[in-house]
Symmetry: C3
Amino acid sequence: MSESYTVAELAAAVGGTVCGEAALRLSGIAEIDHAGPDQLTWAGDAKFTKLIPSSQAGAILVPHDADPTPMPAILCAHVESALVIAMKMLAPSQAMPAIGVHSTAVVDARARLGTDVAVGPLVVIGPGTVIGDHTHLHAGVHLGADCRVGANCVLWDQVVIRERCVLGDRVTLDAHVVIGSDGYGYTFADGAHRRLTHGGNVEIHDDVDMGAGCAIDRAKFRSTVIGRGTKLDNLVHVGHNVQIGAHCLIMAGAVIGGSTTLEDGVVIGGNAGLSDHVTLGRQVQVVGMSTVWSDLAAGMVASGIPARDHREHLRELATLRRGSALLARVKKLTQRVEQLEASADHLDSR
Amino acid sequence: MSESYTVAELAAAVGGTVCGEAALRLSGIAEIDHAGPDQLTWAGDAKFTKLIPSSQAGAILVPHDADPTPMPAILCAHVESALVIAMKMLAPSQAMPAIGVHSTAVVDARARLGTDVAVGPLVVIGPGTVIGDHTHLHAGVHLGADCRVGANCVLWDQVVIRERCVLGDRVTLDAHVVIGSDGYGYTFADGAHRRLTHGGNVEIHDDVDMGAGCAIDRAKFRSTVIGRGTKLDNLVHVGHNVQIGAHCLIMAGAVIGGSTTLEDGVVIGGNAGLSDHVTLGRQVQVVGMSTVWSDLAAGMVASGIPARDHREHLRELATLRRGSALLARVKKLTQRVEQLEASADHLDSR
Amino acid sequence: MSESYTVAELAAAVGGTVCGEAALRLSGIAEIDHAGPDQLTWAGDAKFTKLIPSSQAGAILVPHDADPTPMPAILCAHVESALVIAMKMLAPSQAMPAIGVHSTAVVDARARLGTDVAVGPLVVIGPGTVIGDHTHLHAGVHLGADCRVGANCVLWDQVVIRERCVLGDRVTLDAHVVIGSDGYGYTFADGAHRRLTHGGNVEIHDDVDMGAGCAIDRAKFRSTVIGRGTKLDNLVHVGHNVQIGAHCLIMAGAVIGGSTTLEDGVVIGGNAGLSDHVTLGRQVQVVGMSTVWSDLAAGMVASGIPARDHREHLRELATLRRGSALLARVKKLTQRVEQLEASADHLDSR
């Protein structure tokens, strides 16, 4: 079940002003064409604004300079920011594990837990591991030895954090994430690939989120680093020694090769691949399914295999499409040249 | 161990007619060039039929109008359909967890289990969750709060179903599948990506199968939907709010962006990527490693990055291969035109 | 914590000769520009050798014919091979589960464990399963019925091995690997995809490593095989009936379609895809994000979608980049031909 709130309470929470019935109570949130009379909705742009007259929503988040609406409105400085708060308040609750340590959890006596930590069923915590205040570990989370997990983190079911890895505050890892798996490093000797033991770790800064099934390899030495506020979608691979900056977005299925660097604000599309040892400057955007073989300068939008300037690549694709027309044209031109040659011979021989 | 059956019993099960020794007992099934005297095999097409004389198989499934065979035969209306039944009967048994609740399972008192449900070791079931008759939960399956799982489902080891998700009947999820992970939805405000709390769920219809490690995100509002009879291979990502129709096939490593729609009977090749908010009409086929950037009309076979008509794309590839020949040709032609021009100048100057 | 060793002990272990203070004690290893006075480093090539004078390392691995170094040196026949041993000795210890069966593990009475096996918390072992000497099963590993696991294996947290699968000796599987998931095999009959029950298994030979989240499907009949010494990175998919040879390298996110064969020493780049039923000869290399649609001859380096000879593909890409220049050139040439034609008409009409 969701909590319920009055329009006035919601307005206070999002820092907006009520216009209309402030006492109306709402217990959910939905898009403008789906919201019912006990639900909040929002209209931040023209596409949604034009649906206001026909909406059944109980109340609406609108910009502070919006036209009057048929239902109670909350006037906001930024509708999108207000929406972040309202969605959190009005979404159905997530049923977190209870504060305390579940009787089936296996917690080493040398682990240290902060205040109000929730340790769900069948969680395993190794020796020397430290967990910050208000952190929630869902059922089946495994933390190896000597890990540090910050405050207010949420680790969903069966997340595995291997030995000596470090998480900041407010880190959210969805189910089945693996942090600190061995890096993929071998040397070929005496007829076989010999594993290089990876003695480093993974360091995840504050406010990082990861989707289900991501796998982040530990460094050979020192740390694989994921910077503050960076968000990974599902099933992303991050190789050993990778350095990812702050506020990056990395979409599902992307593969980031070892020792590669992403500066702040980089965006990587779905299923894209980055080679080992390349550097992507600040704000680089890589289109999905592209592959980066070499460094990309700050601000570049890149696509293709290998990735190059996106506009240039689109022009190449357009040229390719005209390829068979070009072929036909050259064939035709050849015939005309042949005719001209024949005629030139004829003139010459006159 | 596999069960053993007589040719007569197998014929009855597949709805076929025995031709030869009906009492022969078989305890396995194998391809025609590998089957031994206690094994069944099949020959539904010319490739296999020509191997019948040299086969050691104990008995064989053949079409009802097939030529006589040296071993006992079961004549079938459709060999492929008969094979589905015979493989199920003759495969080694899968060692399902025992009916009842294992002593190490953690089942909330407010969960409701149907008749003959098998709950394996270390399974976790949250409050309000309902499980249908004859469903098998292998070791370490986690079901969050308020989930509904239908009848005759099989959930393999360490499947995670998060809160409020719904599964139909006869759903099979292989190990490590995650259903209901948070959707990847953020809004950038005050210098950081802010998470939009995803209050929706995932709805999986009857007869869906998923391979190991698939991750299916919950909707922002309402449901991410996977339609009846759709089959996902391993490590497939399905984004928030995606609507997948009935009887689709989605190969390993495919990534389906948020709010995208697949109508019935769509086929997606391995490692292919679909952008957000695109619609693929009925029976669309997308070749592996292609990327769909825009809607595809029903029945279309598409390939390339971005995906376009497959035949057209193949023609483009062929043109590309002739690219250097074309370059050489244009160079040659230019020389001939230069000669003509020189000769025309000469004529003009006469 | 790492163990500590004297230079003499390390030299003995790697089969090298000490040059300098043999009694110096080292407790870690790092790259040449990061190593401190209690750490070992190495310099096997010119890039690292030139950093020796400025290095703070306590001791160094160098080739046996190297110039004298300011710090104690261990002269080695092969620096890379020595490094494999030294990294293993000097990396921080990995905190393996204790020898014996943890009290929370669920081990079937019909399972058989070798000498000095370590079974961590919440491990599940099915009936008939046999585990070799000195094998370590981390927390939450699940082994189905009738599996065989060799000696000296390490299975990290929550690895799932389904029924009847077989692992050789010294196999290392990182967290969340799934071995023996059902193959993706269906036949369309009576309006729906019908699952073909997969009665085969997976066979993993000695010295295989797999990264986190790999999923290896069982064969329809007989075995999916991964050959001796082959190393898989994270999140790799291997389809049913695949036959992978010895000493292959398969990078993160690669997808290998059913019944495909990789001969010995094949290298597959990240996110690459191999279709069903293709054969890659010995030592084939497939560049990342390429897709193999047909057989590749031994030794070939292939790239592109579909994959072709890598050099040829690079030439095609270069041609594509000159595509718009070519277009302009043909346009220009056409104008010149038109002029020639006009002039020829003029001459003719004289």
